[in-house]
């Protein structure tokens, strides 16, 4: 069947089997592998994407059901070369170690802040309660979201510069981020 939807602001059209799950459509057909595929049982939340602005577990949504809707993945968080404050917050506050849960966590955080710009720690913990992180113990994730809430305009980090750091073996935080922490 033919489906079309908006993904990160762009219209996409594909011919798919009705049984294709949204997570596999995003990863394998669209090649957007930032959305991770985890437990496959609606538990872990690493596959969370935003559907019309709301977090959904894309392993439990058919691509066919998402047709006509607006989908935002982790690749759509940064805009015009600037990281989303949530992404910057995860860097500043060490919101990730292995990074597997991070895309889903960041999208849920984005949706939370869009609805509630100044959540308290309990509200953040509730918002991410359907998502599992096995590294951080959640404390740094909560701090990362609080950092984003405190810096709604975002930081001045350049996406290209950030990518370079993340892809390299060097784990030193870039100067720009370091400066932001001190400020």
């Amino acid at each position: 069947m033919q489906i079309s939807m908006t993904v990160n602001g762009s219209e996409v059209v594909s011919d798919i089997e009705p049984r294709v799950l949204l997570v596999h459509y995003i990863r394998e057909v669209l090649g957007l592998t930032g959305t991770h595929w985890g437990c496959d049982t609606t538990n872990c939340g690493t596959c969370v994407v935003l559907m019309d602005g709301q977090p959904v577990k894309s392993c439990t949504v058919l691509a066919a059901m998402a047709a006509g809707h607006d989908i935002r993945t982790v690749e759509g968080l940064a805009t015009a070369g600037t990281l989303d404050p949530v992404q910057q917050g995860f860097m500043e506050e060490h919101g990730l170690q292995c990074g597997f849960c991070t895309p889903g966590m960041m999208l849920t955080a984005r949706a939370l802040l869009d609805k509630n710009p100044h959540p308290d720690d309990i509200e953040i913990r509730k918002a991410i309660s359907g998502q599992i992180c096995r590294c951080t113990g959640y404390a740094t994730i909560v701090r990362s979201v609080q950092w984003a809430a405190a810096h709604p305009a975002g930081a001045v980090a350049d996406v290209a510069a950030t990518d370079e750091v993340l892809e390299g073996t060097d784990t030193v935080i870039p100067d720009v981020a370091d400066a932001e922490v001190k400020a």
């Binding site: 496959d40 049982t41 977090p55 439990t60 949504v61 058919l62 309660s129 359907g130 998502q131």
Partner: protein, 292 residues
Amino acid sequence: MQIPAPFDYERASSVNDALELLARHGPESRVVAGGHSLLPMMKLRLARPEWLIDINDLFELDFILLEGDHLRVGALTRHTALLESAEVARLFPIISDAEAVIADPVVRNRGTIGGSLCQADPAEDLSTVCDVLRAVAVVRGPGGERLVDMKDFHRGPYETAVAPDELLCEVRFAVRPNSGSAYEKVERRVGDWAVAAAGAAISLADDGSVDAAAIGLTALGLDGTVAEAEGVLLGQQPREELFVEAGRVAASACDPIADQRGGIDYKRHLADELTRRVLRLACARAAGTQEG
């Protein structure tokens, strides 16, 4: 990788269109709303519908309306919408209590009240809530609309009164004066099914005595409400010793099974304790509405 068996997909454009699609494709077609029960079952190949009828475009089934002395809730109303409704919290706090512990926030963005009721999982919280509130299901089929009481709606695990060519469209809750309700669940972690849960709804007469009582238990092997425990309270002034007695009666009336979530003794203990807690809270809430 869990992938459903092949099926054909159609999206309904109206309730009538959904009914026509169900009639055309026959009993091997299934309605999908939020899909958070059906799709996992299809991924495990426990369900293999030949046709999937998607009703997510039927905005006519997505509403929460107070009309006269009834709250009307459309079958496509998402859990999140029920949880965030101030009117629902004011009139039926048991629904808000339950919604806060159904699955997790992300799942609640998709799952619907109609889907929960039609899935009819024995551990489903909203089935107990609707039993306790004596809700009425509005079901439409080729022959028109019919009203089904909850005691007739549930036919057993995963079975309901909704025929293959019918669609659950709405759930109606009667608003009763001087009423209070509550729900409490014990779960191993967020998003898990209940180890056990209890719900209660109480209406008070003008003299403060219990005029009507309903007590329901989730995942404890009971259908409907626990009439024996309700009888303990009727006509009495609410007080702790009655809550204790009702808890004891509910614990002996239930029929739990031992599984990975707990043994029979533990589950009976939960039936007792949770019944007391929800009765305390429901009575306090009922008294609160009376004072207000």
